[in-house]
């Protein structure tokens, strides 16, 4: 939690959140469903990924295939919690942040996009994505 609250002096100095957000470990099956869910995870709006059953995947962002071999757990956790700490101009939503937002709709005010447990679930799923997308 401290890590989340401390404002990092420079983007490069902490490029990971190594402590899990919850005591209970993430569940990769739930995580996969969240990633594919267009109302909850929203990931496939922007990212393509290894979801042969899902039509209409976005192409605004890197393929999720291989994410688990490109990044370690802590790095992926930071990307989900608040990717803007790595790249302030990122279009990727900060999934676990409620501060510093503008005109949030009443139904979403004060709520994070995903809960702590959901972040850990998505993370557990991303770590299973070891294989790069075919080129």
């Amino acid at each position: 939690m401290l890590l989340l609250l401390a404002s990092p002096p420079a983007w490069a100095q902490d490029d990971a959140i190594s402590t899990p957000l919850t005591a209970s470990p993430g569940d990769a099956t739930r995580g996969r469903a969240l990633v594919a869910d267009r109302q909850r995870g929203l990931c496939l709006l922007c990212h393509p990924g290894p979801f042969p059953e899902e039509r209409f995947q976005g192409n605004l962002a890197p393929d999720l295939a291989g994410a688990g071999s490109r990044w370690n757990e802590g790095q992926l956790r930071l990307r989900l919690v608040d990717s803007k700490r790595l790249n302030p101009d990122s279009i990727m939503p900060s999934y676990y942040r409620t501060e510093g937002l503008n005109r949030v709709g009443p139904a979403f005010r004060g709520r994070t996009v995903l809960s702590a447990q959901e972040i850990e679930d998505v993370l557990a799923y991303l770590l299973t994505l070891r294989e790069e997308a075919p080129r």
Partner: protein, 252 residues
């Protein structure tokens, strides 16, 4: 070395709409949707144009005047009008968009009951008046009194908003032409409004479209008719200056 990275990450963003060739959302559409727009007998928006034409000739208000009583020869009197809105409104000393002007004229000059935003009547009259400018280039007024609104519109366009924390520019300038799920992101040119949207299964205004883009990022939209929308409309018009009007367009 590490300092240089953020600049590298910014590089793709520089290929913004200003550097791209301007394209109407029409260009992104499937052939059959394009054909639906260009063939008046297939374009559902033409039903609203016809409805607007009949309203235009309908007497209303205490003096039983129709729009046509004061604005004779619509093809001449309304030609090019839609292309220069939003414009400055002397009465309210503020910018006004075409739907706002039509509603104002109906209420204050015709003395007829007001027409609400997105009502069938106001959409139909807007489609009819807009249709008189089809094919004409968007020509925002040079009026310097409009400058503050255009600047406000630009600021609203580039500000991040909502739980998803995205600005209009991040989608419509930085990522135009790419796919957000199944939709190709257009450059957000206001060339076709009011238009028939297949997803709505009805005709809707530009403000309805803007509202949809705001709720899409989980932001609180403005109220219909709000000065913020008129400011965004004025900015989008200046950005699309010279592009041809398509009213009533069709969009997915």
């Amino acid at each position: 070395m590490k300092r240089a990275l953020p600049i590298l990450l910014l590089a793709p963003l520089c290929l913004s709409a200003s550097a791209q060739e301007r394209r109407s959302g029409f260009e992104n559409m499937a052939r059959d949707t394009q054909a639906m727009q260009t063939d008046d007998t297939a374009n559902p928006g033409m039903l609203w144009v016809l409805e607007g034409q009949s309203l235009w000739h309908q007497p209303a208000g205490p003096a039983a005047q129709s729009c046509a009583s004061c604005h004779q020869n619509t093809e001449v009197s309304m030609r090019g009008v839609a292309a220069r809105y939003p414009a400055w409104d002397e009465a309210s000393a503020a910018p006004i968009d075409l739907a706002g002007r039509i509603a104002q004229c109906r209420e204050t000059r015709q003395g007829a009951p007001p027409l609400a935003r997105e009502s069938q009547g106001l959409l139909s009259l807007s489609a009819y008046v807009g249709n008189q400018s089809r094919g004409l280039p968007i020509a925002p007024p040079a009026d310097p009194r409009m400058d503050a609104a255009r600047e406000q519109g630009r600021a609203l366009y580039t500000a991040r908003r909502g739980q998803l924390d995205l600005s209009c520019a991040q989608c419509h300038d930085d990522n135009a032409g790419r796919r957000l799920a199944g939709s190709t992101i257009p450059q957000a040119h206001p060339t076709g409004y009011p238009l028939y949207r297949l997803e709505w299964q009805t005709l809707g205004s530009l403000q309805r479209r803007l509202r949809g883009c705001m709720t899409g990022v989980r932001a609180e939209p403005f109220a219909y008719g709000a000065s913020e929308y008129v400011a965004i409309e004025a900015f989008l018009a200046s950005r699309a200056q010279g592009m041809a009007l398509e009213t009533p367009a069709v969009r997915p």
